[in-house]
Amino acid sequence: MLRLTTPISDEDIRSLHVGDSVLLNGIIVTGRDAAHKFLIEHFIRNQSDDPEDVALLEKLKPLLNGGVIYHCGPVVKKNEDGSWSFVAAGPTTSIREEVYEAEVIKFFNLKGVIGKGGMAGKTLQACHDQPAVYFHAIGGAATLIAQSVKEVVDVYKLEFGVPEAMWVIRVEDFPVVVTMDSHGQSIHDKVLAESEERFKQLVG
């Protein structure tokens, strides 16, 4: 099975095709509904001059340049020494970020987005242009995926609540499947088209 470590090169991304199984390694950052809305409103469509925001942006840029965002709202445990551990960390449904993701990919030069359920045309186009790919994790496999999370390096925007915060994590051999690649292919489009055909036959 293919192993990739963040930051990921354009060349490695171009070599990926839908259906490829990949084990991801290195630093990734979680971000879901509140985080995407925040990134768009404070950094991408507007430029916040709040010193806290400016400092956060400087931290995020190197983490996300060539990096990967994970659509995930984990169950997290605070250890006695004040550090954090991931207890359960499967993917959340990605399509809710469709309105934001293309801009986030371009702004930060993301190489990958991990989630579940796939995304639509704007993100697929951004994957082609950047290039980047959509990695599908197994929805609900939360305890198993948490075993891949070896370290919680940092957390930003904890005021969004545990599920919505941006967790900076180091992963080892996080199992994913490429379901949208940088060549314009999407397993989700294909399955949708085929299932629509069968549906027409079934309901006449």
């Binding site: 169950v75 207890v87 359960a88 609900g140 496999a141 939360a142 609540g161 397993i187 299932s195 629509e196």
Partner: protein, 299 residues
């Protein structure tokens, strides 16, 4: 007026929550195994189901959540005369808060106006609790955890529906349910269990639909018409080929469970509670003798 019984059920309730969040019922495991066996060896569908089964086993061993989205906790509480529902509600809330502190539950209750997470899974109408007084000398509580991804693809149809050619009959029900499965694709974490209600109003429709998810996935509907419809939709939904996670494959639904409620003459709703493969449910049974807890068991 006689005094209500004094019972302390916080500990058994905490165990009920732990079990629901970390231990997938055996009938669901068997349905997943059956699904895996019918997929092409080495396919993405087969691998996805393999990962799911591995995860289920690991969660049970480690006593950690099967899925990080521990959902809306929905309690159905059956209790005998003389037990205070206010007391039970307070103890359920205490157990839910403790379960959150133990990381069995993710803090999942968000204030819809401020966006603030309450941090302990308590909030307005959160968790969901329904009380039913009955004649038996025991308290019987079921808990299901209904995740948000599958809730987002749950849906309600108003029949007749001209786009789908769905009239106010079981054929109409078949059509809209297949449409719901098609629309959901992999987004609700297929393979799914479909809880379906025919009738009711918009509120009770979903309530009855969610109650169907408490049934064993391999049970037989006592109503022969509904049993036949469940079987037909099960076969046809799987023919759609959406497969686990929407990767394509033969296993799109694991079970179809249909109930009915009386409706208004003007209304014919079909409510579909789409449940992900992690159909988490557990039961707590508390036997009472002379107003005291005599035996506690779980299933």
């Amino acid at each position: 007026m006689s005094e209500p019984l004094k019972l302390d059920l916080v500990e058994p309730l905490l165990e009920l929550v732990r079990k629901a969040a970390t231990d997938l019922p055996q009938d669901m495991v068997e349905a997943l195994e059956k699904g895996k066996a019918q997929e092409e060896p080495g396919s993405a569908a087969e691998q996805a189901l393999g990962t799911i089964l591995q995860n289920v086993e690991m969660a049970r061993e480690k006593s950690t959540p099967i899925c990080q989205d521990t959902g809306t906790p929905i309690f159905e509480v059956h209790y005998p005369f003389g037990v205070s529902t206010r007391m039970l509600k307070a103890q359920i809330e205490e157990a839910v808060a403790q379960a959150t502190a133990h990381s069995y539950l993710r803090p999942n209750a968000v204030d819809s106006l401020t966006g603030k997470n309450s941090g302990n899974n308590l909030g307005i109408e959160f968790p969901t609790i329904h009380f039913h007084e009955w004649d038996e000398d025991r308290i019987f509580i079921t808990l299901q955890l209904k995740g948000g991804g599958s809730e987002n693809v749950s849906t309600q149809y108003k029949l007749p529906d001209s786009r789908l050619g769905a009239g106010r009959d079981l054929e109409g029900v078949r059509r809209v349910v297949l449409d719901a499965v098609l629309k959901a694709q992999g987004k609700g974490c297929a393979p799914a269990v479909l809880g379906i209600a025919i009738g009711g109003d918009r509120g009770t429709g979903y309530m009855v639909a969610k109650k169907q998810l408490l049934r064993k996935v391999n049970d037989l509907n006592p109503n022969p018409d509904l049993a036949a419809l469940e079987e037909r939709i099960f076969v046809e939904a799987n023919e759609l080929g959406i497969g686990p996670m929407g990767f394509g494959g033969k296993t799109t639904v694991l079970g179809v469970k249909i109930g009915a409620a009386h409706r208004l003459p003007a209304c014919y709703f079909v409510s579909i509670a789409y449940m992900c493969w992690a159909n988490r449910r557990a039961e707590l049974n508390v036997k009472l003798v002379d107003g005291k807890v005599a035996e506690v068991s779980y299933a």
